[in-house]
């Protein structure tokens, strides 16, 4: 096979790229059609934020609980873990027992972080 300018990596994403661009075109087309045919009758009252039918009260960008943020931090731990697990699990035969013990240790350390968070009461939602 002659060396072609496209690398294997780019080849396998060529179709994904075509799919994505067709998607953008399609969605853009829908938006364009809707823009052309929809009515446009402006009234100041229509642009008030929704609050069960009454005029909005107070600051609309309200603060939310810090707990949500801590869950996002915990997620980073486990998502990074999953990223490490994926290549390892496809190459399990190559690493064998050696890889298994290392993965046990890796997951043990990560579990300690979950246990720590649990012990700190981060996971409690009350």
């Amino acid at each position: 096979m002659a060396e072609s300018p496209l690398s294997d990596f780019l080849r396998s994403y060529l179709t994904v790229g075509i799919f994505a661009s067709l998607g953008f075109i399609l969605v853009g087309l829908l938006v364009l059609i809707a823009w052309m045919i929809r009515p446009d009758r402006r009234q100041a009252q229509k642009y008030i934020s929704y609050e069960s039918g009454v005029d909005p009260v107070g600051d609309l960008w309200s603060q939310s609980q810090i707990r949500y943020y801590i869950f996002a931090l915990l997620f980073v731990i486990f998502d990074v873990e999953v990223v490490f697990l994926f290549p390892w699990s496809t190459q399990l035969e190559a690493f064998g027992a050696f890889g298994l013990w290392h993965m046990f240790f890796f997951i043990f350390v990560l579990l300690l972080s979950l246990i720590y968070a649990w012990r700190k009461g981060v996971l409690r939602w009350a």
């Binding site: 096979m1 072609s4 496209l6 294997d8 080849r11 994403y13 060529l14 179709t15 994904v16 075509i18 799919f19 994505a20 067709l22 998607g23 953008f24 399609l26 969605v27 829908l30 809707a34 045919i37 929809r38 009515p39 446009d40 009758r41 229509k46 642009y47 008030i48 934020s49 609050e51 069960s52 909005p56 609309l60 960008w61 939310s64 707990r67 949500y68 869950f71 996002a72 915990l74 997620f75 486990f78 998502d79 873990e81 999953v82 697990l85 994926f86 699990s89 496809t90 399990l92 064998g96 027992a97 298994l100 997951i107 579990l111 979950l114 649990w118 996971l123 409690r124 939602w125 009350a126």
Partner: protein
């Protein structure tokens, strides 16, 4: 990798790719349209109602009518909204929804040495839009991008209910994505590849990952997947009784339709991913047939039949299960699904290594079962002592 693109990429190859893309698009959009109708009709049946029955035979065209209606509605963006992000969010929700479908094998003959390769206009290709080497990672990446769509939609609306909905949604999707990833990793141990074509090929002949991985990853994936889709019983994100509509409260007309479309598209693609990962995708007995019938009709038939089962399951969940409370949701995700998926992952890895090397599989299984039991007991102990600790002040110390 797709054999179509392994040689020189000329006009013919590009045209075939375009054809596949258009067919996949049409199939997905028609599928979504029918899914909306299927869900409304089925829920109506389960609630002893008639459901849509006016537009077209059995109300099949109701979705189309609703969609066309939304084109003719005025678009409003609330005065407090961040205009750019507010307009961007529906795209971030919709584009990832159909990009996932690009890596799903929807037909092809996987019996014998066929490996799902079909011949189209004299070129060999696979019946999926793309087969990148990291297909499953693309799925997880796209479901992460979808979180942005929902989060930014709620934040940029500059309104109270959408903000609450989007904060809930982000936390929930992020929590269950960890469990989702861990159960996928278990499948990868058995499949040995991230490519969706190879995952399906490894399951040909009834060696479905459903039982090759021992059922647990499938159950975890199904629960985490339902939570990831924000579908009932995990629909706290748009709990109508508390949050009006959640993150899309301030969206009107076509932009609302885009969120709606994305939601149902995600349901269809999630079912397709479940079928691909655990139920052998389009593989199935070919009855000694060959050629176009086995490639297209049988392959697609198997795929569609399996897909329909999961679409039904998702609707069934919605019609039967009551919504979870937020603390129950988080407990289920972090204290049950993640430890379970992680433990099961290690067990499957140990068994795989035992089979590859000279270890005694029975001993490994015994140790694994003991380890899981011990872990489960510790978990139960932790949860029980925690709840005792909390209720002490109300009921006295002797419980």
């Amino acid at each position: 990798m797709d054999p179509l693109l392994s040689g020189d990429v000329g006009l013919a190859e590009i045209l075939i790719v375009l054809l596949k893309v258009v067919v996949a698009f049409a199939a997905l959009l028609i599928g979504v349209m029918l899914m909306v109708w299927f869900e409304r009709k089925l829920v109506a049946d389960m609630q002893n109602r008639l459901g849509p029955n006016r537009a077209g035979p059995f109300g099949v065209l109701q979705t189309l009518a609703d969609g066309i209606k939304l084109f003719f509605k005025e678009e409003l963006s609330p005065q407090n909204a961040d205009p750019f992000v507010y307009r961007l969010a529906p795209y971030l929700s919709l584009i990832p929804a159909f990009l996932v479908f690009a890596v799903v094998p929807i037909a092809g003959n996987f019996s014998g040495d066929n490996d799902g390769v079909v011949t189209m206009f004299g070129h060999e290709t696979l019946m999926q839009v793309a087969d990148p080497q990291i297909g499953i990672l693309l799925v997880l990446a796209m479901s992460s991008v979808a979180v942005y769509g929902i989060m930014l939609a709620g934040w940029s609306s500059g309104s109270k209910y959408p903000l609450l909905g989007s904060v809930r949604a982000t936390s929930q999707m992020v929590s269950y994505e960890a469990a989702l990833g861990l159960s996928v990793a278990t499948v990868l141990i058995v499949a040995g590849s991230l490519s969706t074509n190879l995952i399906v090929d490894g399951q040909a002949g009834g060696r479905w990952n459903l039982w090759m991985t021992g059922l647990v990853p499938f159950v975890v994936f199904l629960i985490a997947g339902t939570a990831e889709l924000n579908r009932p019983p995990f629909d706290l994100v748009e709990a109508e009784q508390e949050l009006v509509g959640g993150f899309h409260t301030e969206y009107t007309a076509l932009r609302f339709a885009m969120f709606f479309l994305a939601e149902f598209m995600n349901t269809v693609t999630m079912s397709a991913i479940i079928v691909t990962l655990f139920f052998g995708g389009p593989s199935g007995p070919s009855f000694g047939l060959d050629g176009w019938f086995a490639d297209y009709v049988l392959g697609f038939g198997y795929f569609f039949a399996k897909l329909l089962v999961f679409l039904f399951v998702f609707v069934w969940f919605r019609a039967t299960l009551p919504r979870l409370r937020y603390d129950q949701l988080m407990d289920l995700g972090w204290k049950l699904l993640i430890p379970l998926a992680l433990g099961w992952f290690l067990v499957v890895a140990a068994v795989k290594v035992a089979i590859d090397t000279t270890w005694n599989v029975a001993v490994v299984l015994g140790v694994a079962a003991a380890g899981l039991l011990l872990g489960g007991m510790l978990l139960k102990l932790a949860i029980r002592s925690g709840s005792e600790h909390r209720t002490d002040e109300f009921v006295g110390g002797d419980r």
